[in-house]
Symmetry: D2
Subunit: 307 residues, 4 copies
């Protein structure tokens, strides 16, 4: 099997579906994206890069950023993080507040919005948002060896102006003492991390350590321990697609994290990191055609972690 | 790595924890089990069998039976089953009825009680409970090549006498037309399947096809297609431990299904099926020491599916 | 103000609305009722009776029976009843099971189905359903001085055959030990009490003690203490119309209890008991035109308890 | 019956209970109140005033203010208000956010916090908070003919600093477009209205129009129509005590609204308005001894609206 050929076949499989789904429209900067964009990049643990379509056009990674802020936060506070956020699938949409009331301000997992806001609060930890965002940006540039990655200020500003549900979540958790910094500062970090602008190649490179036992490259420097890489993968599998996580595991069989910008990062442990981008979303808020492309890729490569 | 040695090390790891947890006491037949029992069996895809402790003493497999009835039901009605039961983690305890009200009588997945009752209803499908139970028993004996497996009538009777929550679930789903047979017949099948009495060796043998691309033995007959084996594994990973499924994936990293009798069946795809038994349960109703033993085994073998 | 004239005016007010709403169709015996039926009876504390329309045609009183079984149960077990059932509006539909899970099998109030099933269980208390139903029937006949009141066996049978949600509620509460008799016996009482067949005059007469300080007639025998009559009225006001109780209080301003057969019993303390019947139901399951008629009557008489 | 004597008897009835309950401690200004304070004032529709205890000592009226802002808002936007807030008891605590998620940002009623925030938003309606608060203060002074009533700035400031749950509610409703002004302005109005400082005599006077067919005094000027007075009373009865509204109706039998400062305003239609103050709260957040005093008063006067 040549990955080059696999990608060609995947493109054939999804050709008729490109443009499907509904582009996120809650902020102008996302709404104006062309729904017919489609890109995919596979970076193997050997360092080979295979691409198809618009794989080098930057998009807003949105919630995919949660994987990287979680990695940073675990590096800083270690397993103590789990006192403030759970590790269970939520069974509810990404921005649900019901679960928080039932569980006293402890979000179910770090990939729903409430959980990612707690993670951002952990990273902020008394600093200024500017410093924390600098740290996040440095980390992304380090993982990709690419200093051109930026945060899209216009997107961040739009998020801030329309983010009332996230403000509700943050204030609510503050009432339970599970936000330690001023709400607006924590939200500032969160809204900006979501506005990270990256293309599929950069995103796949950034996620490679999760496919690679925690190492930056085969035999290279360690980003996280092997065990931690496994655990982050486990969280992506059980919680990475909100209330469609079970379906993604069933159909694709790889750990993955989606973003409302239409991107998905998927991990084939020991094999490769894969990034796909197609802006149209399905009913659960995950890339419709992106999911189909990963399903095709997983079937054609046999990379499913389930046998 | 010799599996023989691994099992010895696992036993050392858990030795101080044997007897921990709380034995299920809702029916007399379960409550009287000695909490200090501990057994483990590993059956590899090559057919090798490794055991430790009380691996040949039969126990009530309870909810682990849901894996096998799901397999049978998929064989009978195919993917159409998913119209009557979902594939998402529930985020709620095994016997919660709240989710059913919110989702119009469609259970979240086939491994919570409500979902398994729908699966049993599918198998019953106009027949008499006795016939359906005969079919289930034949399937278990076929998978294990062992005709000594039985259903413990005393346990089944006890379940029936105390199963008011399950009766509530079944009646409730009937009100939504998602139970098609008379409630008491469907419950009859469900209560009896839970009373299957098996030991760790039998259970690991029965689950081997899930580690083995759907084949009974390496190169042997097909039980299910490779793709279906993967999908059942995916369901076990995301939903196999109720509202502790995320934690099990995080700590153990293998698809698994627990039972309130203290058993757990875990699958290491391409490697082996593992059964463990230790009656004491943790707060989520899963075997406390059994989970620890699987965590130790996965770490020592590197069998985690997450890298 | 002559009540005779008021009733005429009420009839004019609702004339254009007769036939509105949706007749309950879950059991054949209810579904076949002519939706254009409309009757109303007012029985004053002085014993005067005023009627309009089909006030002497019997209908299935359904949930209105809960007022009378509650009265009987309080007579038997006194205020201890409140250990098994609450006194708060539920904020949920009449047959919701969610609240029961959150509150450990204790129904919110005696007028939702779950609460009324507990009340029936209290009355049954080790006897046979036949005896308890005899007692209920005797009570209705005593209150109305009318031995022609019967339980419609066909309706009761239909309820039993379709009552899966109620069976779910009863089994669920049994799991929390809040049903003390065999589930099918308790449900037998409940289904039959709902099948009581009465006309508006009989129903208003039966409720008169609640308008009359607990006395059967002015200066007559005591059914309940004055304080208990007040309290039952308070429960009717806050809980008598399920999740539309607030709206009924807002619009009508009288304690009332509705039934899915299209009847409503309303109490004007110190003034009169009113029964209205119009089979078409609104979205909350209460008589659409019956509510309008009571709104008109309350406005024209100034009988609102709110000033 | 002389009201003077009734109040003496009430004081005897509650004497042993003064100091019971737990003073609200979430803001310092409330926490430092002497728990042994007790005051009561009854203002009849004839204008007679009867007092006992600390009836002329000002306290923070908190949620009782919701009755008056509702009255103002109905005067401004009329029945159209009910498009933005419901009229049903919530069955949940005063600050629950769960109900809002289920019902798309429409609060159940105007007396839970979310509902009162919507009411405040209605009053603000593009103005500055200072203007709206001026209007509220003028209304309270007009109703009581007492220009000494003030808003306690220290209490308002404390509320603002600790009001993260209320900020969550407001942001959440803004996300559903049910808050029309900037969240911090609407909250500014809400936090300050809760900080109104009044004594029992002032509060009873302010509420008199609700006992008096909407008139300021017998035969005096109209504050609201008779019908609207009835409807506000109905809302107080079904929703005025959060998830203990049913219990208050059952025990006291009068429309009432409680505040976390320990005050309760109760209305005996056609008879009198009653204000009671005792800072210790019961488990539902309502004045423990204040409720007992009203229960005693209602029993001794026979003012229950339920017969």
């Amino acid at each position: 099997m040549q990955l080059e050929d696999v990608l060609k076949d995947v493109l054939v499989d999804v050709a008729d579906h490109i443009g499907e789904g509904k582009v996120a429209n809650y902020i102008p900067a996302l709404a104006k994206i062309d729904p017919r964009k489609f890109g995919m990049a596979v970076v193997t643990v050997d360092g080979d890069i295979h691409v198809t379509g618009d794989a080098e056009e930057a998009f807003s990674i949105q919630s995919i950023s949660k994987v990287f802020t979680l990695t940073l936060a675990l590096g800083r506070v270690g397993e103590g993080l789990w006192k403030r956020v759970g590790r269970e699938p939520s069974g509810t949409p990404f921005n649900s507040i019901v679960q928080l009331e039932q569980e006293q301000g402890i979000p179910r997992n770090p990939f729903i919005n409430a959980g990612a806001i707690v993670v951002a609060d952990t990273l902020l930890s008394g600093h200024q948002p500017r410093e924390t965002l600098g740290e996040i940006l440095s980390f992304m540039r380090y993982l990709t060896d690419d200093d051109t990655i930026i945060i899209d200020a216009e997107v961040a500003r739009s998020e801030q102006q329309t983010g009332f549900r996230n403000a509700a979540l943050a204030n609510y958790m503050h009432a339970f003492s599970n936000i330690h910094n001023p709400v607006e500062k924590t939200l500032g970090v969160y809204f900006h991390q979501c506005a990270l602008s990256m293309n599929c190649v950069q995103l796949a490179k950034a996620g490679l350590f999760l496919a690679n036992r925690g190492l930056l490259t085969r035999g290279g420097r360690s980003v996280v321990s092997w065990e931690r890489a496994r655990r982050i993968n486990a969280l992506m599998l059980t919680c990475g697609h909100y209330d469609a996580s079970g379906d993604f595991a069933f159909r694709v069989g790889l750990p993955g994290k989606s973003g409302v910008g239409g991107g998905i990062l998927a991990i084939a442990p020991g094999k490769a990191a894969i990034a796909v981008w197609s802006p149209g979303l399905n009913a659960n808020g995950n890339s419709a055609t992106g999911t189909k492309a990963l399903e095709s890729l997983a079937r054609r490569t046999g990379w499913s972690i389930f046998g």
